[in-house]
Symmetry: C2
């Protein structure tokens, strides 16, 4: 048994998938879901994802051993504020947010004395879908989960959260907050911004143009179906790292544009070859 009473605040794709995976291995006595959308919570009950639900955060976290906050980044501060008044010194709190510096700042400010009980976490897993209906127990299998504990973080809390992720098939990696935020800006946030921008470029020209999109385009823009609120929050919460990546990308695109303008064959071939080699070596 991992913990007796687990509360998941935000029973969507990620929160729902954690609940399903933990339930499958009977890791908790009781899993309580919490959210504002009652219909979604009812669906979660029907699908057997959670055992019961509460729409009030204070009731949801009462006597909980482990609280997983799985809501869009900009909603986390308010949740910390509420739960800080309800929890005991033994309660462990973790999150799944895609930017860590901002969540840690929120935790410091709103969890107060309970700050050491908070383990900043982020599973590198997901799909472009959202909502509990899209959740599945296997989502984290063979995926990495990054934890970014800080000096104050209680090692025992880190251990429990690590164990939770390992039990559901993930590999836990620890790194610094800054490193996480930079890596995610590069591998996840930037691609999403490019996909959204690409779809808008085409749509603005002629919405019928999508009819002629082949498989590559579908793959390439799948992530533009991701939840706008979630991505709005990420864009602002990891703003500095994202702006840095946008600048680096822009330099690359400028170099390529210039090479095409000038008909510089060897430069164009070099750019494409470098990318192909890097991708084939790293992701095949």
């Amino acid at each position: 048994m991992l913990v007796k009473r687990l509360t998941i605040i935000g029973v969507g794709l990620i929160g729902g998938s954690i609940a399903r995976a933990l339930k499958r291995i009977n890791a908790c006595d009781e899993i309580i879901g919490c959210g504002r959308n009652v219909a979604n919570l009812e669906t979660a009950i029907e699908l057997g994802v959670i055992d019961k639900y509460e729409t009030q955060i204070d009731r949801a976290v009462a006597n909980s051993d482990l609280i997983i906050v799985a809501v869009p980044l900009r909603s986390i501060a308010g949740i910390f504020k509420t739960i800080s008044k309800e929890i005991s010194p033994d309660t462990i709190i973790t999150d799944v947010g895609s930017a860590k510096a901002s969540v840690i700042a929120d935790a410091k400010q709103y969890l107060g004395q309970h700050f050491p009980q908070f383990v900043p976490g982020h599973p590198i897993a997901g799909t472009e879908k959202s909502g509990v209906a899209a959740s599945f127990a296997e989502l984290f299998e063979d995926h990495k989960v990054i934890l970014t504990p800080v000096a104050e973080t209680n090692p025992a809390a880190v251990e429990t959260v690590t164990l939770m992720w390992q039990k559901i098939g993930a590999t836990v990696v620890k790194m610094s907050v800054a490193q996480h935020d930079e890596i995610l800006a590069a591998t996840s946030h930037l691609p999403h911004l490019l996909a959204y921008s690409l779809v808008n470029t085409l749509n603005q020209m002629n919405p019928e143009i999508f009819e002629f999109a082949a498989g590559g385009f579908r793959d390439f823009t799948r992530i533009a179906s991701s939840d706008p609120t979630m991505w709005h929050d990420i864009s602002l919460s990891n703003r500095d790292a994202i702006l840095k990546m946008l600048g680096l990308f822009r330099n690359q695109l400028d170099d390529l544009t210039k090479a095409i303008q000038q008909g510089d064959s060897s430069e164009i071939k070099d750019i494409f070859s470098r990318a192909k080699i890097a991708r084939d070596q790293s992701l095949c």
Copy 2:
């Protein structure tokens, strides 16, 4: 029977897949493959993709009823030059190039009196792989093929090429050269350039960063594994349309960057929501 003798110049992913698909339905008496890479042609024979091969273009096209040119765009002119001396007034020629204005200019210049026998074509199908080993008969099923005949093009030749594509499961669409080149710059060429640029951005930072890429990133950058020579040729052959699309994309990215810089929540949400709606409506 579609034609007696078919020659495919360039037995790679596309040429090989056409051969496989036509062979499966016994659409030709004989399929001759032509290319410079003997090992690839031997593989094509072993895999049963073609009946025989020639490395000399003049020998490959002798007495051919239909010639399909399936090589990178910048190699087409030389092939036209050679075959124009070998073919009869009844031979039909078509291609599969991803840019049509440049191929038509090459055809006009090098096919001379045979220019009306050339049907400019482009199947909207492919994968990031290349070579005959990656070819498969079903590649074109339920995919669109765009033909861009011009005023001089022989209608009977267009009909034969149309029939060929329909026989192997594709839907043939006719449009103007300019429209084709613009649509492909938007839906295919631009995404490839973005994918190559993104991979180079990350690789330049830290090649180990790819370890933390999730499924979305893999999908997003799959096309960066595409053949650099093919994409070099496309970049230069469809240069004007591509530069126009790069400019439009850049405007979108600038708007988004500015909104993030300024923390303009409503603008960011609006940008993401518009993209999500456009993609969900058009590609789901």
